[in-house]
Symmetry: C2
Subunit: 370 residues, 2 copies
């Protein structure tokens, strides 16, 4: 291949998206709900959004869809994982402010309703509710033949936390320890590039994976017998981190040796890869000195697409789906607590104070803006 592939050449214009969203936000005025009343917006130092007041508590909403991973699921007729993906994208975001997810609603848009597809989605959402430990509190199926050409799935999750206990990033400081939680696969970001690479490589999703998909800290959710197919690896559902993170938050708010104040930041590694860390603080930096092992599908994608290493880390999770920044004195305690519940969890680096940037053990992998 002459030119290395990247996310922009896969048809996603991140700058255009950013300016479209800025236009939308720019048009919004302040909330009409006064401070202290239910629904009043909460301004957090870290600039996190989505939190509102509710008496002695805060409520948090997160809304997101599965994106172009859906197109692969649809082409294979395999929707068993997409409900889990949809749930994960939302509840994992809620965890980042220290909220416990409690309820979820789904929105399904289809050109034409198909009971078989809906049964598969229902089963997937039911499993997702179990993993995230939330109630499915409603949903909507819209038939929009003029607007969608195939299934779109999105959802909204609701979470809560006690007032004054939000994780805002304001306690982050140099020397904080970064704990990485392992990913189960590509999760739900970067699929425009995945599809472009796969098309270029001429691999079929129904073929056996063109690499050994074994990895100690994830299992594949299979729908075939025998050798794992490429499609099963690519569609492996996004990991939901409620277990163990909600339990860690509750333990920290209870009588564990560590406290909620020792958890300084939580980051969900989504589109933008490691550069997501820069959203947690305006000046501090992030040194990833001992990264989690890279999942084999990322190695294959990089090779097959001739993608630069830095671009890989800016697009994909590369094997780490969530990062906690914790007080160094409590890092071992929390690490052990987490490792017992999620094997593969490890210390991956520290918070630094020599510039607002992410650095990485791999040379050339450095980010100074999200």
């Amino acid at each position: 291949m002459d030119e290395p592939m990247d996310y922009a050449s896969a048809g996603v214009d991140i700058d255009l998206e950013g300016s479209a969203v800025a236009s939308l936000i720019g048009a919004l005025s302040r909330s009409v709900r006064p401070a202290g009343s239910p629904g009043a917006p909460v301004d957090l130092p870290g600039g996190f959004g989505g939190l509102i007041e509710f008496g002695e508590n805060l409520l948090a909403l997160a809304t997101d869809g599965v994106g172009s991973k859906l197109s692969i699921a649809t082409s294979l007729g395999q929707w068993g994982g997409v409900g889990i993906d949809c749930m994960a994208m939302n509840v994992n975001d809620l965890l980042c402010v220290g909220a416990e997810p409690i309820a979820f609603v789904d929105y399904v848009a289809v050109p034409k309703p198909d009971p078989a597809v809906h049964a598969a989605l229902g089963a997937s959402l039911a499993e997702a509710c179990k993993r995230a430990r939330v109630t499915l509190a409603g949903g909507e199926t819209a038939s929009l033949p003029g607007i969608v050409t195939e299934l779109d799935l999105s959802g909204t999750a609701l979470g809560w936390l006690p007032k004054g206990e939000a994780i805002t990033g304001e306690n982050l400081k140099e020397g904080d320890v970064l704990i990485g939680l392992p990913a189960s696969g590509i999760h739900s970001n970067g699929y425009s590039l995945v599809r472009k690479i796969v098309e270029h490589a001429g691999v079929e999703y129904t073929d056996p994976a063109p690499f050994d998909p074994e990895h100690p800290h994830r299992s594949l959710e299979r729908w075939t017998e025998g050798e794992a197919t490429f499609g099963e690896v690519v569609l492996n559902p996004t990991r939901i981190y409620c277990d163990p993170v909600v339990d860690l938050l509750n333990e920290a708010r209870g009588d564990a040796s560590f406290s909620i104040k020792d958890i300084h930041g939580i980051c969900h590694i989504t589109g933008g890869g490691l550069s997501n860390l820069l959203r947690l603080h305006e000046t501090l930096g992030w040194a990833i000195t001992s990264p989690l092992p890279v999942l084999p599908e990322f190695q294959w994608l990089q090779r097959a697409g001739g993608v630069e290493t830095r671009e890989m880390y800016r697009t994909f999770n590369m094997g780490m789906g969530m990062v906690l920044a914790v007080e160094s004195r409590q890092a071992t305690n929390m690490l052990n607590w987490l490792k017992e519940r999620m094997p593969g969890t490890a210390v991956v680096g520290t918070v630094t104070n020599d510039g607002h940037k992410v650095t990485h053990a791999t040379e050339g992998v450095e980010f100074s803006h999200y």
Copy 2:
């Protein structure tokens, strides 16, 4: 025209939709959140969904989209009303269980982001937040070129109410008085049929409306000068009933002469038209003896499409977007309270006990299932 038009011939298969949704719901197991914990589902006698426990309160979620009304807005490049439509579809649903809407999140799916469209959506959502008196607590814009061919917009609203004060339909009884609230237009349902009729009639949305759109209890939101265009009538934003219904609920929970127990049922007239009333109770009936005046666009649509009257009332709101069923002894008090805040509000009928059906002053308009 040889054959009268109806909703099914416009390409919407309600039975197929129902069976698809049933498949999805059938696959869902019970919630994993135990009774008494935040997020535990609340089973209401009337079978309403979406309510969850939260300490001394209940929280309610509603999720819905704008549907094919969006295609008309997109074809005209006029998105100023669709944020209001999206908000209305959700918050009006929350009012039906007696919840006060407090927050909203939007989900936008586009083939490609366009800052101008997003600025228009942002302005529309900002106005919607004011009308519904909620905080915009987040949102997501997804670029899905392979899945959507034009803008899709949906959203989720969050509301709350004190435990024990949900409006469930369990207090409904024969003789309850029905109070109708006027609609502002077609609202956000039945647009597949609207588009089919308009296409058949050969009317352009940019032409002056082929009828007098004046109506005492609604005003058109205009983007042209001079004579109102057909498009302005068809796209007139859905009425948001938070003001006056939230105030009525608060007044009833406070020291008004009427109490919350006097409000026995609230119905949002959406797809399915008057048959929505049947969802409120399993055995009682609904006699609409003095309907609100029909909006002129419905009269035109019926004529232009040769649509049967019964089909019109099963597809459109026909001029009444919300119905309250109240204790007869308090009906005059509540009517006067509402009329002062929303002119055009009137008593439209009573709850009956001779079969689970809706009857209407217009002969032939009768429904026995939703």
